[in-house]
Symmetry: C2
Subunit: 327 residues, 2 copies
């Protein structure tokens, strides 16, 4: 999801002393909520009402990629770095049911960076932007010993279609697109296609009652839907669509899948499966309940699946492919 503020310090990216929950606990109450803010910080995107009468919302989110954290500096084709940066942000627009429109890029490059490298990164951004009719409208560059790029995405969505994460209700079925797990070792994290068409369709057809994109691992991102919606979930790890060669454990805890995770009312689930117009896999993986405290995920035997700490630290403990070349 890489939502504004709720991805602050994902523990999966190293042993930062910054504690996400504590940090957000301090910051979120300090933020002024503008009167025309339809969706405040804490979802995949913030949403702004453009005018009092209008039906259109502006979607805004920012995300970054850092050498050594999100990719290996020397080993990664620069075009793919640009692709990943924009794709991560497009995935946030997809999870809100929106249409991406504009992007601004800020880059910090080591002083000895060759022009060809920076251009190739931009080419990766521009190629994906063109494919989705996104206009790159601004940028800035600075000298930075460690390569780092941030991108702000601006999209739009009709107010009646905007998908949030707080709409899941008891009895809803839980679906996920694509396959999960092993995004880093498989290279998926660099080459994935953001699920824009799928997210838009789910929003316009009003199938999704809550939606998020899976970026910090299914377990953690599902918990975010559950917490926001005040629900729990039943999940059978055996039902998870695993990437070839990867375990349900990977599917549950690995990050950077960038698939859509969403809930659908039981009444409409059959129609969803029947009408689903995409080649993208669609898998029902569980259902929403209220018989546990919000955020809890239990297996068919009623046992809690994993623990939050696992989700926070899954890269460092379970995933040897995490980039660590800090350049």
């Amino acid at each position: 999801m890489h939502r504004p503020w709720l991805v602050w310090s994902p523990g999966g990216y190293g042993n930062m002393k910054l504690d996400e929950d504590h940090f957000l606990g301090q910051i979120l109450p300090r933020l002024q909520h503008a009167t025309d803010l339809e969706v405040p910080p804490g979802d995949d995107c913030a949403a702004i009402r453009l005018d009092a009468h209008g039906d259109r919302l502006l979607l805004l989110a920012v995300d970054q990629v850092v050498a050594g954290t999100h990719y290996l500096y020397a080993e990664t084709e620069p075009r793919l770095i640009g692709h990943k940066l924009l794709a991560r942000n497009l995935s946030d627009i997809a999870a809100m049911g929106g249409i991406p429109r504009f992007a601004l890029v800020a880059g910090g490059f080591p002083p000895d960076t060759q022009q060809e490298r920076a251009l190739a990164v931009m080419e990766g951004i521009i190629a994906l932007a063109e494919a989705h009719h996104v206009a790159v409208i601004g940028g800035d560059v600075g000298r930075c010993p460690n390569e780092v790029l941030s991108l702000t995405i601006i999209g739009e969505v009709e107010r009646e279609f905007v998908c949030r994460r707080n709409g899941a209700r008891s009895g809803d079925l839980i679906f996920v697109t694509g396959v999960l797990g092993g995004s880093f070792p498989s290279g998926h994290h660099l080459q994935f296609a953001p699920r824009l068409a799928e997210g838009r369709w789910l929003a316009r057809e009003k199938y999704a009652t809550a939606m998020i994109d899976v970026s910090d691992g299914l377990f953690k991102d599902l918990q975010r839907i559950l917490t926001a919606s005040g629900c729990a979930a039943h999940l059978d790890p055996g039902d998870l669509p695993c990437r070839n060669g990867f375990s349900p454990q990977s599917a549950l805890f690995d990050g950077e899948d960038y698939e859509l995770l969403f809930t659908v009312s039981a009444e409409r689930a059959t129609a969803l499966v029947r009408e689903w117009p995409f080649d993208t896999a669609l898998t029902q993986i569980g259902r929403i309940t209220t018989d546990r405290s919000a955020g809890t995920i239990v297996d068919p035997a009623g046992r809690e699946i994993g623990r939050i700490e696992q989700a926070f630290n899954h890269f460092s403990s379970n995933n040897s492919a995490q980039p660590s070349d800090g350049r």
Copy 2:
């Protein structure tokens, strides 16, 4: 100005192999220009038309601060880093005559960063945001060996009031707010107040025919107005309002002043000076001509003042106070 794209690789920030002009020459033609883009990349902000009939434009810009480039990591109070980051962006809104509304922040912090430091940086952003009724609506954090923060600012302006840099005409007088030079050694670059009220007033009263904020040095930023407007300028360095203890040379070439540089028709200049409602100093420093090629700046004797190369490299050659602690 730190305009989208035209601040790409300011040479003042080190001997980057990335060449600004060459890089932009490659990138700008590749960018799609959305049909609803009123001001394309290359001004202080890009401006988007929100709807076909509406009069409001959305202003967007991104800017960043990097430890060792824009501030010294160990020596700088973290609140001031946050203040500077937002203030730089507010200065871009000011230069367009706009009103700032929303901000998104992305931060890369070293793994051993104390929570207190990150919170203090955010406090600096939030305090200035509150003072200007700006809502911080999104953020992201990553682990990065070198501290780096980028901020995207979203503002608005009426189409009839938007100030660009391409409106200077022969005979216009050139004005600048405040005093110039020595921003790094004086500490001004960390504590300045963005000229939002002044920029807004100049736009609404339609005094400014072209406007930019002085971030890469008066010489270079004036050249940008001249190049965009197809004009030259007469300037007497002796007329420049110098910060106490700093020379006209500093006022001409030092960066990060964040004052407003603008042109006014000769007919309205007297009224401008009479009506100017601010305590901020207002100084006429020259006039626009067309008797030289666009971008040329000459002194009263007709000699070209400095050279572009000086403006590109002024920090590294002239300013010993440039931050270089790369942490």
